[in-house]
């Protein structure tokens, strides 16, 4: 059994890293918002999904223009990433204005409910637009970065099988890492990043220190949603086919990743995302093997939720978070 697990390990690692990178960047959006508002922005998964659709629309649009086929794929990707991120960033800002800001002093249940409502609205609006233009809400984007590469893991040791992936794997991983490093720099080294951390620590005191709290919150939503949207584009490039409902479960998983890493903690979200992606791929490859065929890959979502529950019970502050006690 061990042998079989080891054989598939290189492929599991490749797939797990791809998925993990997606989780990690989306998890950042959850963690940043939670850090500042102690709010689970349920709609974040939908922002990610909108990003996937907007990105795909741009790809189709640009590549439909004859002269544009001369643009190298990589440049095209960067253009689309920037455009999409800006749009979803603004969607995030609008979301906060409309659905969360008026409720800042409401009972905590209420903003959760608006968040669910916004999720539904986004899903359906995207479905509607996609169906209107495409005839079907399941959309397949142009195939990009699709050369197959084979990782000769068997050359390292004969225990392993080779792993196969598309170039897009490298793109997803590379872009995700760049985004994370940039965000880490922004939060820890810039003026607005410092303001953000101050607001997260203590909103009232921060506002006394003449920090414009509302602006900081808007910026947080912009960055979180821009990252989410950009990840959506990466997702579309990597997996090709998208539908309006990809955001919900993926968003939940990303949230689980954020909790796993320590909610409110930016590096925690990155670690948690990568870890969850790897564990999930490992589980879906080996669950059936490990349980003697009783549980198959279809239980991989169960596995992710089980992780969430275990973390919440035994280490609610997450891997990198600090424990807190409510002041009475």
């Amino acid at each position: 059994m061990l042998q079989e697990i080891l054989q598939s390990l290189p492929q599991v690692l490749v797939d797990g890293l791809t998925l993990g990178a997606v989780y990690a960047v989306v998890a950042l959006g959850y963690t940043m918002v939670y850090g500042i508002l102690q709010l689970i922005n349920f709609a974040h998964g939908e922002v990610f999904m909108s990003g996937a659709f907007i990105g795909t629309a741009f790809f189709i649009l640009i590549m439909g223009m004859g002269w544009a086929s001369a643009i190298p794929q990589f440049i095209l990707l960067i253009i689309v990433l920037i455009l999409t991120a800006s749009i979803t960033g603004l969607v995030g800002v609008g979301l906060e204005r409309v659905a969360y800001r008026p409720l800042r002093n409401a009972p905590r249940l209420i903003p959760l409910i608006t968040a669910i409502g916004i999720s539904f609205i986004l899903q359906d609006v995207v479905r509607f637009i996609a169906e209107l233009f495409n005839g079907n809400y399941i959309v397949t984007g142009p195939s990009l970065f699709s050369e197959q590469i084979t990782l000769k893991a068997s050359a390292i040791s004969s225990i392993f099988y080779d792993a196969r992936f598309k170039t897009s794997f490298l793109i997803v991983l590379g872009v995700a890492i760049i985004l994370m490093v940039a965000l880490d720099y922004f939060v820890n080294k810039t003026k607005w990043g410092t303001a953000m951390r101050a607001v997260a620590l203590d909103r009232e005191t921060a506002s006394l220190m003449s920090i414009n709290v509302n602006k900081v919150i808007s910026i947080t939503f912009f960055i979180g949603s821009a990252l989410g949207g950009a990840t959506g584009v990466l997702f579309a490039v990597q997996y090709g086919t998208i539908d309006p409902y990809i955001g919900f479960i993926l968003g939940l998983k990303a949230f689980i990743a954020a909790v796993l890493g320590g909610i409110g903690n930016i590096r925690g979200a990155m670690v948690g995302g990568m870890l969850l992606g790897l564990m999930e791929m490992f589980a879906s490859a080996n669950l059936s093997l490990l349980t003697g065929g009783v549980f198959g890959a279809e239980y991989k979502d169960v596995f992710a939720f089980a992780i969430l529950i275990l973390v919440l019970i035994f280490k609610p502050e997450g891997l990198l978070g600090k424990p807190t006690a409510e002041k009475v």
Binding site: Q38, L39, I40, V98, A99, P102, L103, A106, P107, R108, L109, I110, P111, L112, I113, T114, I116, G117, I118, S119, F120, I121, L122, Q123, D124, V125, R127, F128, E131, L132, F248, L252, F255, I256, V259, G293, V294, F295, G296, E298, Y299, D301, V302, A304, F305, L308, I309, L312, I313, P316, E326, V328
Partner: protein, 431 residues
Amino acid sequence: MKGKLATFFSNKQLQVILYSLFIIVTSAALYFSQKSVVSFLLLLSSLLILHFMNLKNVTKWIVALGLLFILIPFASSGGPAFQSYMEVATMVGIYISMALGLNIVVGMAGLLDLGFVAFFAVGAYSYSIFATSQASNFMPFGNFPLGGESFWGFLIVGGIMAAIAGVLIGVPVLRVKGDYLAIVTLGFGEIIRIIFNNGDRPINITNGAMGIASVTPPEIFGMTLSFPNQFYFVTLLILMFTIFAVLRMEHSKLGRSWKAVRENEIAAQAMGIPLVKTKLLAFALGASFSGIMGVVFAAKQAFIDPTSFTLMESFTILVMVVLGGMGSVPGVILGAAVVTILNLQVLTELTNWLNQLSLSGVLTIPDALSPAKMQKFIFGALLVAFALYRPKGLIPAKNKIFDVKKLKDHRPDHLNNDTKENSIPIDKVQV
């Protein structure tokens, strides 16, 4: 003018006369013009009007029971659409009962449960597995399918199974702090569905994605229940039980402890209320109402599969509670009725109507925009609009009004000999 209008509407006799007229007209319209969905809906709305009327509670209940048990089924029976009206009314009853269950959890105890349909599924599967030959795959003894009389016992079994599921889910979940609860319950809702969906291996218990067909219909006094109008009465009886139970709980020590936990956990604990136990009770009792209706649903459909128990169902029940008014029993009843009718009748009717319009070329609506497909958008918009502008819902929850006279008259015995001066020392202080 306003004053006149007010006196006009507070005049009891006038009210009663107008109300009776309304009922007579709508039920006659329904009886004679069978296709008139509008008159069916108006007749149902007479219950809502009744709620706001200036009558004694007992009177209201008697009128309501009369409407529900006699007039509504009778008025609907005038033609071929009878069964479809009864079907809608039955579904309304099932959803009201579930929404009342969720209301205990979300409205009273303040715990956002996003996986509530799981308990409905537990109830439905409990009956379906034993009322088909499914059970013989794993039961070492017994003869399956069980007969239709077992249905009545399974109402209780389904409720208990759902309550047990509630406790099993609750034990790990309720230790988790507030916000996470929503996510974790959502996860559990999915887990239960996945388990039912894959429960055909290694032992075939749930028949997996294929679902369970030919569920034995209930039987009573040798009569087999299989038509919607028969299930209507079963549902109605259970619903009445649910409403009474929920009202009793609300105004008891139990209901107060839930609300206290919702309002302030730390203070509730300081008053001696154990948090986990209180929340678990809310979970279990809320779940049991859902489980009971799950049994009815399975029997009524005679077929169930995991697609009836998706996340969307959980959200639908949540919309009912939020729309009606969290914590408000009359509100939640209204919310559940409105959403169910919206789902089952209004949206389909509207879709048909629009289809006809486009067929006749009057105007063309893209298929993507057909109302039946817009369910999510409508629910989403309702949730957002209500959370923002009317967070207390259509009929906001009200606290019980205590009657000072009753509280003053008979002091507890040991205080009876207290003179007023003695019992209110503050009077003396004020000088």
